[in-house]
């Protein structure tokens, strides 16, 4: 007696039209085809009504339908859609596996009680998929492969499924047909040893797994955390300030969600909805992933102040999608003390946290690129010797630069042309040259400068400036470039 391994109950969702449905989730009446190398591989209903068949080439299809919409097949998107569907199906059972290119398998035995039976689960799956704009063939059986075959075969009994719907190599199917085998029942009537001898062991292995005589382990998807919570208001809210309380409630839910999973977020979105008006949403971005409720509250309140022009709101929704494991920062035993790090730098994690909080607030109120740090570049051209970089991107210490000559504390973004009085440049008063010239002639590969730099003092204000004399221009122009502040 052969031992059977089926104690499960499998539902297979087979998305035959997935290549086309990833493009046509909105109902389209036009004929749509999906092609690979000019050959049609998938069609929608209106295309098939017009007589377009899978396997036709694109010219034929264009002849049959003049308003044809065609897409090149996108397998990356298909897989993404399939994974999304698998995550969606996770609500029915924790045992969901993705079978590329176009199937999902769910083991539902343990969920039968919760959902009141297999029929209920099936209808829930069907209506849910329909709502999302996908259509699937559903097969139910005791093993994953059998469920898949049922979904593909569309027969009520496993034994009646034609051989070409089974996962057998096309060549073998051809040979089986030649000896009069047309359905699964016919194969099973043949002696196993004979099949192995004729067609190899892989087909027998497949059949054993199909029938549950051999174990067929599956890789199940893992849960992708996803936070979404909504508050519906009984009466419409017209004053934006009164949203503060529900926002706090939602953020507290998010906080509990994160803490229970030991996760942190750096991004979440609020949606302000009203059944008549278009949905307004605002996104809050945090520099470092965090699970700190006070940061959430602070930034949300800041953002709420900026919102204007919202008239009525009947529901508020908070969603978060990107999660990070909680950063395991070593906490100071002595709160706020400084420790010398290996690189000789003193750090103070409390100060850094406070700083990050300020940068988050600036992000929210002023937009993302208002703050930055400075960096010294290795270039002789004064305007190329520096750059701005986003916060905390400075790598390593900048000790290598040896400055021989004086450089001003302030540099003008663009050199200012100076007036001339007599043959002497002047700003507020005449400029008296103190030091120089320092010839900087550099950068032929990029843009060349050829300048004589001087340190100069303004006779009137006594300010000290960094000016240059452009050597490339024969009319001898003087420019102001820096200020010795």
């Amino acid at each position: 007696m052969t031992r059977t391994y089926y104690n499960g109950l499998w539902i297979c969702l087979h998305f035959q039209k997935l290549p086309i449905e990833i493009f046509t989730r909105e109902k389209i009446a036009k004929p749509v085809v999906v092609t690979v190398k000019q050959r049609i591989v998938n069609i929608n209903h209106s295309a098939s009504v017009l007589g377009i068949c899978i396997g036709n080439n694109l010219e034929t299809a264009h002849m049959l339908a003049d308003n044809l919409v065609c897409f090149e097949r996108n397998e990356v998107k298909e897989l993404a859609a399939l994974k999304h569907l698998a995550q969606w199906a996770y609500q029915f059972t924790p045992k969901v596996s993705v079978k590329a290119p176009n199937s999902i398998q769910l083991e539902v035995r343990s969920s039968l009680k919760l959902f009141f039976g297999i029929k209920n689960i099936e209808s829930k799956l069907r209506t849910g998929l329909k709502k999302m704009g996908f259509s699937a063939q559903v097969g139910i059986h005791k093993t994953p492969l059998a469920a898949l075959a049922m979904a593909k075969g569309g027969k009520s009994k496993l034994k009646n499924i034609p051989v070409d719907k089974l996962d057998i190599e096309p060549q073998v199917i051809g040979e089986l047909r030649k000896i009069g085998v047309s359905s699964l029942k016919d194969i099973l009537d043949l002696p196993k040893s004979g099949i192995t001898r004729r067609y190899g062991s892989s087909i027998v292995d497949y059949l054993e797994r199909l029938l549950g005589e051999k174990p067929d382990p599956q890789i199940f998807i893992s849960e992708q955390p996803n936070f979404s919570s909504e508050i519906n208001f009984l009466s419409e809210i017209t004053n934006i300030k009164s949203l503060l309380f529900p926002i706090r409630r939602l953020l507290y839910e998010l906080y509990e969600f994160l803490i229970s999973r030991q996760l942190a977020v750096n991004n979440f979105t609020f949606k302000l909805m009203h059944y008549k008006n278009p949905t307004r949403s605002f996104n809050i971005h945090i520099t470092e992933p965090t699970s700190d409720i006070s940061t959430f509250l602070l930034l949300s309140e800041l953002h709420l102040e900026k919102i204007s022009g919202v008239r009525e709101i009947d529901s508020l929704k908070l969603t978060a999608h990107n999660f990070f494991p909680i950063p395991s920062l070593p906490r100071d035993l002595f709160h706020g003390t400084q420790f010398q790090q290996r690189n000789g730098q003193m750090t103070n994690s409390v100060e850094q946290e406070d700083r990050n909080r300020l940068f988050n607030m600036m992000n929210t109120r002023l937009g993302p690129h208002t703050y930055f740090q400075l960096f010294q570049e290795d270039d002789h051209r004064p305007e190329k010797a520096w750059s701005t970089i986003p916060k905390d991107k400075i790598s390593g210490l900048q000790h290598d630069f040896t400055t021989i000559n004086n450089r001003p504390m302030f540099l003008l973004n663009k050199p200012k042309k100076l007036k001339l009085r007599g043959n002497q440049p002047c700003l507020n008063g005449k400029l008296i040259l103190l030091d120089g010239p320092e010839r900087i002639d550099y950068g032929w590969w990029d843009y060349n400068i050829n300048r004589d730099y001087y340190v100069a003092r303004d006779e009137y204000t006594n300010s000290i400036y960094w000016i240059f004399h452009d050597q490339d221009h024969k009319d001898l122009k003087w420019f102001l470039h820096g200020i010795f502040s």
């Binding site: 750090t347 100060e351 909080r357 930055f372 400055t403 504390m409 103190l434 120089g436 300010s463 200020i483």
Partner: protein, 250 residues
């Protein structure tokens, strides 16, 4: 009486009769003469310090540089500059020892936003020094900054025009440019107008250690042609146009 006490406690008002009665932490300015004039023998570690001057380029930043270098390098404190009028030039900052890793710049678009950042930065406790060049700031706002910087132990430096009148800042220093003799170090005249726990000072001269003023060149030896350009005059007077400063890019 109660009211007065509350006012003293909450607003940071102080009485001249109570001076020198508290221990103050301070930070050497790097210039012994300046230290000797400041109470606590150095820059304060908190509160609002106003540096009042008429023109850029008289040494107003060079005066601060040793203290900023010490804070950013040895103490690893962060420096925040809010809307500097020009590019703080990294080669010069590096040369005077300021750790660029601990220097942050923020360029808010409006005056209102920069005042907001200023106050938030002072109350955040994340910075050692916050330096700003406010074009316009009221006494009431300075008083708020004063309270915030005291609470968070953050030093706030405001560069302001010399003729702004009185202000509630704890330390106010006027800087005057010096018409140096050639072949000496460059220098700046300093007058402490007001300081907590101390008195007004006379004008004294701080010499810089740089060699900016060492030589004087003669224009007549340069072969220049006579030409007169009609250009924007006196561009370096207050208030500055900040639009020339670039936005940060990724």
């Amino acid at each position: 009486m109660d009211k007065l006490e509350r006012l003293i406690n909450e607003t940071g008002l102080w009485q001249a009769s109570n001076i020198n009665c508290e221990f103050r932490k301070s930070l050497s300015s790097g210039y012994p003469l300046l230290d000797s004039h400041l109470t606590g023998s150095g820059w304060p570690e908190d509160g609002v310090t106003e540096l009042l001057h008429n023109h850029y380029g008289i040494g107003e930043l060079r005066l601060l540089a040793p203290a900023l270098a010490y804070l950013s390098q040895q103490q690893s404190k962060a420096i925040l500059m809010i809307s500097p009028p020009f590019i703080p030039y990294p080669p010069a900052l590096n040369a005077c020892g300021i750790n660029l890793k601990n220097l942050f710049i923020v360029q808010p678009g409006t005056l209102q936003d920069s005042l907001w950042v200023l106050e938030q930065a002072l109350s955040s406790k994340g910075f050692g020094v916050v330096i700003a060049w406010p074009k316009k700031i009221s006494d009431k706002q300075i008083r708020r900054l004063q309270v915030a910087s005291k609470e968070s132990n953050t030093w706030n430096i405001l560069f302001r025009q010399i003729d702004v009148g009185t202000s509630p800042a704890e330390l106010r220093i006027r800087l005057y440019a010096v018409n140096n003799d050639p072949h000496t170090n460059s220098s700046v005249h300093v007058k402490i107008v007001k300081q907590r726990g101390g008195w007004e000072s006379d004008i004294f001269k701080i010499n810089f250690t740089d060699n900016l003023n060492q030589k004087t060149l003669d224009f007549s030896k340069l072969s220049t042609n006579y030409s007169d350009h009609h250009n924007d005059a006196n561009i370096l007077q207050w208030p500055m146009d900040l639009s020339s400063f670039p936005k940060a890019t990724d």
